[in-house]
Symmetry: C2
């Protein structure tokens, strides 16, 4: 699985005429080991030798080629996670107070209902849906 992940990312980069460099591999590795989206500061902690600007630039490129997904909360920092087709489809518990994010999943059945509702909306508008996002907002254990 881990090998497949890197192969897939490498492939997507190559298709965009980009290289799978050490820095990029390290970012993907760090994200794949986390069980929640990480902020840039968190990523820099895990990759001490990586300069901030490289982190920003590489994450931006990884996002463009569809290897990574950027998540914005009310927190000051953006968060990054592996693109959804590289992981399991999941949702987020987002703390309204501190912006922290945790992953969670719901039943396949409910997901199917969502997909179908999604398609109906698409029929009525000029909007081309690619995916949905179901988040739970509230207060995390720390902030309660």
């Amino acid at each position: 699985m881990a090998a497949d992940l890197h192969d897939t990312v490498a492939h997507r980069l190559r298709e965009a005429d980009q290289r799978y460099t050490t820095n990029r591999r390290a970012l993907i590795e760090a994200l794949s080991e986390a069980d929640r989206p990480l902020t840039i500061p968190e990523l820099l902690e895990r990759q001490r030798s990586l300069p901030q600007s490289s982190a920003y630039r590489n994450l931006s490129i990884l996002e463009e080629v569809g290897a990574v997904r950027r998540i914005v909360t009310n927190d000051d920092f953006s968060r990054y996670e592996l693109a959804e087709d590289l992981t399991e489809h999941h949702h987020h518990l987002i703390c309204s107070t501190c912006g922290a994010v945790e992953d969670f999943t719901v039943s396949k059945q409910l997901e199917e209902r969502l997909m179908s509702a999604m398609t109906n909306v698409a029929r009525r508008t000029g909007f081309q849906p690619t995916h949905h996002r179901l988040d739970l907002l509230g207060s995390c254990a720390n902030c309660t």
Copy 2:
């Protein structure tokens, strides 16, 4: 209804020892007339005499007292809409390309399923959910 809206907002402000000033009323008015969340530049266009800093400051206060809700997309600007209990429960079509946001609704039945799934997750974690967020991500008519 319009009168009720302003009364409610005034009340929430008063409870926080805040006044319902002309600027704040104008912001609420502008948001209530829009059918989608507005960015600060958009609000300033609709309220030419309102300085930027007042917009930021007042929206921040209106958010604190629960009259307004702030929405962050991948766009550069935050967006604001009336708090959900002042409007109708709805969801967002978010353009992944330009960050534009439109409102939409789904069936009550599906909403109930979501609420119930929400409650289940809450039981399994220390997270205290307050509400959910279901967004449709994709490409808007302009960006297609």
